[in-house]
């Protein structure tokens, strides 16, 4: 059964800390991995990762895929309270199929 597993499920840190969120996948037909940030409503797109070892960066957020280890990490440096959200890791398998992880609930305390 195709599966995406995120860890930790919940994380509480202080503003200014750096966090690393993990995502591992077991899928039969990997195409790409997507990261989303979900605050109170719809998830918003962060990154799409297709190639192993190439870091994608957007401001304080960065992500990288390791196809050998079947995993990805999402890093957030110098965290701010506005980074508090659920972060979703999603594997896109093609043929209209998305496999979601459970999400990591990140809380940034002032």
């Amino acid at each position: 059964e195709d599966k995406v597993v995120q860890s930790p499920l919940s994380l509480v840190v202080h503003e200014g800390d750096t966090v690393t969120l993990n995502c591992s996948y077991e899928v039969t037909n990997f195409r790409s991995l997507l990261w989303y940030k979900q605050e109170k409503k719809a998830p918003t797109f962060l990154f799409m990762l297709t190639s192993s070892g190439i870091e994608k960066k957007s401001g304080r957020l960065s992500s990288i895929l390791d196809k050998k280890e079947l995993s990805s990490i999402l890093n957030i440096t110098a965290t701010q309270t506005g980074d508090s959200a659920i972060y979703l890791c999603v594997e896109f398998q093609g043929a209209q199929k998305l496999v979601f992880g459970q999400g990591t609930r990140l809380t940034i305390n002032p």
């Binding site: 997507l34 409503k41 719809a42 979703l88 209209q96 998305l98």
Partner: protein
């Protein structure tokens, strides 16, 4: 910008009622999805559709049906709402490898 619009943000319905959740996208996407999101369980796929009048069961289709009469609209139907269908429902539209989400409908069945 792609827009995926769900007809209601909040709904309260009684047990046994027939409930319609509507989702409309304005980018001519072929693939549309309905998910429910529950704490600790992440997003779970209920149904998806890859073309007009075409539908496929997802992971948890029991108690739900769908309708795709026009390309832009994908409706989720709860034939007889039950309390265990209280949840956040998210509609998504997929183009290539990126999914666009609606704002979600929080349904409470009492």
């Amino acid at each position: 910008d792609v827009k995926v619009t769900q007809s209601s943000r909040y709904l309260v319905k009684r047990t046994g009622e027939k409930v319609f959740l509507e989702c409309v996208q304005d980018m001519d996407h072929e693939n549309m999805f309905w998910y429910r999101q529950d704490p600790g369980l992440g997003l779970r796929l209920i149904y998806f559709s890859y073309d007009v009048k075409m539908k496929e069961k997802g992971d948890i289709p029991e108690g739900y049906s769908v309708s795709r009469e026009k390309k832009e609209r994908f409706s989720l139907i709860l034939e007889s709402a039950s309390t265990n269908q209280t949840s956040m429902y998210l509609c998504a539209s997929l183009e290539n490898t990126e999914a666009f989400f609606g704002q979600g409908t929080r349904l409470t069945v009492v």
